[in-house]
Amino acid sequence: MQKKINDFVINVATVNGSGSQSANTILIKSLFRMGIPVGGKNIFPSNIMGLPTWFVIRANKNGYTCMKREYDMVVAMNVATVLDDLKSVNPGGVFLYNEDLKVEASLLRKDTLNISVPFRKLVDQATDQLKLKKLLANTIYVGILSHLLDIDYEVLISVIKDQFADKAAVVASNLKAIDVGRAYAAENLTDTLIGDFPLKLEKMNKTQGKILIDGNTAAGLGLVYGGCTFASWYPITPSTSLVESFARYANRYRKDKDGKNTFAIIQAEDELAAICMVLGAGWSGARAMTATSGPGLSLMAEASGLSYYAEIPTVIWDVQRTGPSTGLPTRTQQADVGFAAHLSHGDTEHILLFPATPEECFEFGQTCFDLAEKFQTLVIVMSDIDLGMNLWITDEIKYPTKPFERGKVLREEELKQMPQFLRYQDKDGDGIPYRTLPGTHHPAAGFLTRGSGHNEKAQYTENNVQYQTVLDRIVKKFETAKKHVPKPIIETQVGAKVGIIAFGSTHWPMLEARDILKTQGLATDYLRLRAMPFSPEVHDFIKSHERIYVVEQNRDSQMLKLILMEYPQYATRLISIRNYDGLPLDAVRISEPLLKLEKSS
């Protein structure tokens, strides 16, 4: 049998709280350091200890590292899911399971290579310390896999040493466990004893200049470099790790010469407070943000309208999870986009950004403030769990050199030159008014910001004409914004008549799906949305394709509808492809329905 080399998927099924995460990180990092493109999906429960969790590692020499739901190998360590896990193995794949789970032999499949490992015994060899046993069982499967798959031993050791950098004892016990696993495998899991092992890794050089990082970590770093000085948030999965990343790096690298902080991070009492603190800080002139997920976004609705109407720079990072309501807090979806676009009662509109890669998460860490301050409005960055919390290979991020855009802020000096200052006037014809910050020492600077009706002078009004003048100007401001938000990225193929629009974490399976489609003879052009309001390029793309597939991760075709509202003239060209079951999107869930729809079109 031909072995699959550098092209397979392993799913490790464990119990959460058992410490498997660090073992899985060792596995995936080892592959990365071997130069093999790799991706990791952490399918974890909304719970602290005892519920099923899976870690899916995909090695792919061609660089397809997104989700793939067909597993070439399953490592089954969880008695609660072992039978389902068994079913999830590809025919011809490997089912390696813990002997202690006592899977009845009769239940084992004929079309898989079944490997039973006596973990308890092996753990006893690896350590005497009771409290380490559970943990080291995980390291032992790493050892076994490293042997079976041919993970470079040097690399593996280096990863373990780096992982537990300061703790020599931990390194030692893990190395011991690795060796126990490897020794067991070498002795008992040879091809002669168990049959041909079908998977194999080989060193490559495809990860040079790259890093393996999740979107939330990159976003936190991006905020550090993007000049974020104020973050207020209420803990909620999966946004917490974004703020934690900002906190970690800010605490290290954002001290002034006296060791004082050039940032503030506030754990608010709820999301209503979190967004209101950001509004206050934005009003004072800081680059301020909050991070949240669905339920928190809902709670921010009222204040979002205030940001829009009083024109206060505000930033929300919404790391989307599966809704509605509490939903599946640890599963992914892109189902807040419709709600976010017009968050709040009344006529409102917000700038949305859609990062698709950790690199873009980093970049948008500055872009979000540049846009919020330039347009004096709310910017919502729409990430999701797949992007935010899973490990992605990304080019090492370039050092940002773009200066901050702080928008039209009038200081004392400028005010002195001006005959008058009207806070909500369209002075420049671009719909963007000027603002002053509190604390400005000039008689014209002060005004009372409010969410109630106001005229161009920022005075309270109930007058219908004055009210409408301000509201209409804001429309103009958003027209201007179309030309300044990040443009979509368009990739074409020769002869393509079909266009595809997608955004966010859908990007990665899309790359693979388009290659599949091409193999099947279907050339496609691809527009990746990066922002709303849509830039003119989106229009041109739709105009120039007969059929447009809008691929997204929600039930109700939310993005398709947003596109429809902007370009009703092309309504009949738009076709929806969706996945919304909470698992990260994979390529076949795009290519198969698309091909089917193409055939019937």
Binding site: L212, V224, G227, F230, N261, A264, G280, T449
Partner: protein, 347 residues
Amino acid sequence: MSELEAKPVSTNNKLGLAKSDYLGGKSTLCVGCGHDSITNSIISSFHASNISPYDVAKMSGIGCSSKTPGYFLSKASGFNSIHGRMAPVSTGAKVANQKLITLGISGDGDTASIGLGGFVHLMRRNVPMAYLVANNGVYGLTKGQFSATSEKGSRSKAGGSNPFSMIDLCSLALDVGCTFVARSFSGDAKQLVPLISAAVKHNGTALIDIISPCVTYNNHEGSTKSYNFYKDHKVILQELGLILPEQEILADYDPGSTTRVDMPDGSILTLKKLALDHDVTNRWAAQQLVHESNSRGEILTGLLYIDEKSQNFLQTLDLTERPLSELGETETRPSAQVLSDIFKEYR
């Protein structure tokens, strides 16, 4: 406002500003509304304290009370935000620019109902700001429903009786760690002006719960927040004075009957005993005092508690000296070297 406009504004303060420099727009509240008297006391306090209006941030929520920032210090910036959110909006504003002298004015509905969480957590954090509640026991702007600061048994204009326990804002503030707690009455400028001045100077959150009658919806017989009820039930704890750093210690300051509190800017707050003996540095004694006084049916006003030694929120956050709002690339963007060091972790 009319009262003020009538007075000749002659004396300039240390900044050379007349009291008229501290005025705001014309009030649109009902004639006789207690809130307008608070406005007047704010104007007097800021003028007397030599605070430049440019340095002030006037914060509020929504309600008749929350409209008042429009009626004082028109040269200052202000934020008339949304209902019940003055506390977090102010927190953000102050943290982003610590130099702002932050004065918040809210209503009892704004604070004790929809804004209760934010109010309590503001005090827990000890965000430096003066938090004034114009407490009339009703929702004025929505036409007179009972608020949560209404006494059990107090009567509505329509005749109904409030069946629910009252939230006593001072007792609550003491309970959750507020570091400056006072009660006052909108009409008692003599007490209110020094209290506001001290609150603004205070090293943390300063709450002043100001009984401020709503003449339109809660000034009738049976109300416990009416002008008459106050007049008949008031007990004034101390006579307050505020001595600015540059002023001489006043002659009539008698250490026997008068306590002094040193404020962070060098001012001295003097408390001359009136009604009762009370140690304003004893939190739980203050709370008991409030309960006892309430149970006697009194309205006890004065400074109840003060602690100038606590750590405020800015100190907790350990902020750089320049306002966060002023920081640009130079101050906030770490080097390229740092970035590539960081990435080592991710390989």
